[in-house]
């Protein structure tokens, strides 16, 4: 793409910058719209769970424009900074969280080859940058100049940093099974039907998915781990002194990280951009469309991107569902859960998956269904064929 643009612009540097800007705008747009959608989804889903309706007035019967109304309201609120607050840090803290939460999407692919920044260590990048969000939270808690905010920030720091360990450990299980830490490669490997998804590869990866999801919920501070925002105890934890636009920045950062960990779960476990059944390949075969045609590939990847977004959204919807069902765990119970349950469990899953790979190097699926299973590929993913045989050869 950069070369294509450079032909017209005459300078590779200019073309590269322009293309990077376009990608960033695309990523930001998609994520911002998703975040706005999630505010609507949270209100509707929580309302339905609680036997209410939710927004029904703004924008028709389903309240589609409610996020717009909410955003406008927040922009128009008074800009309050407490007298005891550290002014510079107070102002900067939301943006630190925001940047950390949004930068993650740069390395997450939405379809084969469709990624803003193709990194060999993409999964590692995602986990590392997502961990920077806690810096903004601690800054906010400290800079607010209030004991309650400080309480919330300290709890959050302890919780998020502790849960990153089992999170990373359970994320490493599918990485080990796939043999690559590049999310594009991991996604390509799961082509075909849902039986090729890494979550169904072996029971240890299956369990690792649930451990991953639990730790993901904990590291984005959603109930039942939402002590830093515990409404009934600390008013709003580290966010108590924030109002208006600054608060909405924190809010957006939280939803963006929820989406990011859901996307990562989809890539690592749930088949990334592949649907449960190889429908696109089937349709192409029935209609006689050549699978290698650029437009066919483009449409297939677009469909894949749509599937990927749906998976991410389902993950977020599940987190919302959990929030409105379960009560909150106390901080020492949160830490116990991390150190006594999630961490040993994820370590055990890692060990189990390693043993499994040693015992079944070719993968159970291809042993059960025969080498022909690897031949039914989705259209438009030649790298997937190579990746599949790589897995069949032991994935090393």
């Amino acid at each position: 793409m950069v070369d294509f643009l450079a032909q017209y612009l005459g300078s590779v540097w200019l073309a590269g910058t322009l293309w990077a800007l376009v990608q960033v705008v695309l990523v930001l747009t998609v994520v911002m719209i998703s975040v706005a959608f999630f505010t609507w989804l949270e209100r509707k889903e929580s309302a339905r769970i609680q036997d209410r309706l939710g927004p029904t007035r703004v924008g028709g019967r389903f309240g589609w424009l409610q996020p717009v109304a909410d955003g406008l309201k927040l922009l128009m609120k008074e800009d309050l900074i407490p007298a005891a607050a550290d002014r510079v840090l107070f102002r900067a803290a939301p943006y630190v969280s925001f940047c950390a939460a949004f930068t993650v999407f740069v390395a997450l692919p939405v379809a084969s080859g469709w990624v803003a920044l193709r990194l060999d260590a993409g999964v590692f990048f995602v986990l590392a940058v997502a961990g920077l969000e806690v810096l903004g939270v601690v800054l906010a808690g400290y800079a607010s100049g209030s004991k309650w905010s400080l309480f919330g920030a300290m709890r959050e720091a302890a919780q998020v940093v502790s849960y990153e360990v089992p999170l990373a450990l359970s994320a490493v299980v599918p990485v080990m099974v796939a043999g690559s830490i590049d999310p594009v490669t991991i996604g390509d490997l799961q082509a075909g039907g849902f039986w090729n998804w890494l979550v169904f590869h072996d029971p240890f990866t299956f369990a690792a998915f649930f451990v991953y999801f639990t730790c993901a919920v904990a590291s984005v501070n959603r109930a039942p781990f939402d002590l830093p925002e515990a409404e009934s105890e600390l008013v709003a934890g580290f966010m108590t002194e924030y109002s208006g636009f600054r608060w909405s920045v924190f809010f957006m950062a939280e939803y963006a990280s929820m989406l990011a960990v859901s996307f990562l779960a989809a890539i690592l476990f749930l088949g990334a951009w592949h649907g449960p059944l190889p429908l696109v390949a089937g349709v192409y075969a029935v209609l006689g469309i050549p699978a290698g045609h650029p437009l066919a590939i483009f449409v297939a990847q677009l469909a894949g991107a749509g599937v990927f977004l749906v998976k991410g959204y389902l993950g977020v919807a599940t987190m919302i569902w959990l929030r409105w069902t379960l009560p909150r765990l106390r901080i020492d119970q949160v830490m116990t859960m991390c150190l006594k349950y999630c961490l040993p469990l994820s370590a055990a899953m890692f060990l189990g998956a390693a043993v499994w790979l040693y015992a079944f190097p070719a993968g159970v699926t291809s042993q059960l269904l025969g080498p022909g299973a690897a031949a039914t590929e989705a259209a438009g993913s030649p790298p997937a064929v190579a990746g599949r045989t790589a897995l069949a050869e032991g994935g090393r």
Binding site: P327, R330, D332
Partner: protein
């Protein structure tokens, strides 16, 4: 046992008892019986510290690292203090060393006003004490004045009073359960409880025109009989309500996270409960089998004669088995917050049974429901004190008459006041996050505490 090292400006936070600049010694704030928390900081799921009031010698744990204590203020504006209550927590990090409740924000001089209005005119003031159970408040005061005047409400009126009072007990316990879940982070059972409570309030609106401050049960009877068709509506409400109780058990009583947050937290031994004057589910949750509907004064227990119901308290290690109640989980200790909550949930089922029986008895009874006394009715020169079993505990009313229609003194003995007084005992050594859990299990309402 001085607590040196604490920063003095924090300890001199202005409060009515400690003037600014006073030499603050640890004994005056902590009292001679304070224990200095549990060494080792927060441990997972351990019960509260043993109560110093049991006469054991005070132990002072020496820490290697000197950490300062901080005074944290919860309220009066706070989402989970159940009203305008100010709690001053003295904490060492996350561990609470002492809780001092400051009350009086909702004091409205009800008892003083009682000296200036007639008995029937004071009924609305009783509504506003425990405003979640207005009917029971009205009933308590009406019975006290009836005891003073030695008048008797006819049988139909007694059954009607049981019906209304037990329905309001259900409503009050629904609020208690819902807001308790809300304090712990469960937003959904709160909505379910309030949805059911709305139906009860609709029934009450049909009866007396008001949803919260009823002034319905008055001295001598009730202000008006039930409207036609009301009994059917009440029965249909009860029919659709019983499955909801099971839903609430799934969402709260048997829910693993809820149990982890409440089991073993805020353990109240039976003797301490009795010493502090606790009553109601707080007392019965500690295993004391005492309910004024069975054990109270004859003028009150006569109302419940002939009804089949069980007092919900753990006797011989078992709760009443007349229903498929959820089992007691392993971590729950008698007297902890979970048991207090469990007693309330079981009492709801008992109240449903009582309402059904009252509907049947009321329909079969003949005669008037009771005529309210005249406003000019003179009160004899005597006094009468009567305690009734309100949803939150034993609510007592003293009426002193002096020959005129206006009483010389009206006194309300509030159940929440005594239940709240045990808070600082219960919270010693717990974590900050346990304070709403314990406070919610005591189920106080500030209108009653402050009057």
């Amino acid at each position: 046992m001085a607590l040196e090292g604490a920063s003095t400006d924090v300890r001199r936070a202005p409060s009515p008892e400690v003037p600014l600049g006073a030499e603050v010694r640890s004994e005056t704030i902590a009292g001679p019986q304070a224990t200095v928390g549990q060494a080792g900081g927060p441990e997972a799921d351990r019960p509260s510290a043993p109560l110093a009031s049991q006469g054991k010698p005070v132990e002072v744990a020496e820490f290697d690292v000197r950490t300062d204590e901080i005074l944290v203020n919860m309220g009066p504006q706070h989402p989970s203090t159940h009203g305008v209550l100010r709690l001053v927590l003295r904490t060492d990090g996350e561990v609470v060393l002492e809780v001092t409740p400051h009350i009086g924000y909702l004091h409205r001089c009800a008892e003083k006003i009682g000296e200036n209005v007639t008995a029937r005119q004071w009924i609305p003031y009783t509504d506003r004490m425990d405003y979640l159970a207005g009917m029971n408040m009205n009933l308590g005061f009406a019975l006290a004045v009836e005891k003073l005047l030695q008048i008797e409400v006819p049988e139909k009126g007694r059954h009607l009073r049981v019906l209304i009072a037990e329905l309001n007990r259900i409503a009050s316990h629904l609020v208690a359960a819902g807001t308790y879940g809300l304090d712990l982070g469960s937003f959904t059972p709160f909505m379910y409880c309030f949805r059911e409570r709305e139906r009860i309030l609709d029934l009450f609106e049909l009866v007396c025109g008001a949803r919260l401050t009823y002034s319905y049960i008055t001295v001598g009877g009730v202000t008006a009989d039930l409207p036609p068709g009301w009994l059917q509506k009440c029965e249909s409400f009860l029919d659709q309500f019983e499955p909801v109780i099971d839903e609430l058990h799934v969402l709260l009583t048997s829910q693993a996270v809820f149990i982890r947050r409440t089991a073993g937290i805020g353990i109240l031994p039976a003797e301490t409960a009795i010493q502090y004057g606790c009553s109601g589910p707080v007392l019965r949750g500690s295993g004391v089998n005492w309910d004024l509907r069975r054990d109270g004064e004859p003028i009150y227990t006569r109302m419940y004669e002939g009804y089949r119901w069980e007092v919900i308290a753990q006797t011989d290690g078992r709760y009443p088995q007349d229903h498929p109640y959820p089992p007691v989980p392993k971590g729950a200790v008698l007297g902890d917050s979970w048991h207090r909550f469990y007693v309330r949930m079981l009492e709801v089922v008992q109240s449903v049974g009582l309402v059904r029986q009252a509907i049947e008895k009321y329909s079969r009874a003949r005669g008037p429901v009771g005529e309210p006394i005249k406003q000019s009715q003179k009160l004899p020169k005597a006094e009468a004190y009567l305690e009734t079993e309100a949803p939150k505990g034993q609510m007592g009313f003293l009426v002193v008459g002096d020959g005129t229609p206006v009483p010389r003194r009206c006194r309300a003995r509030s159940s929440s006041f005594c239940n709240l007084s045990v808070l600082s005992e219960l919270c010693r050594g717990c974590l900050v996050a346990d304070v709403p859990a314990i406070l919610g299990s005591l189920d106080i309402v500030l209108g009653e505490v402050d009057r």
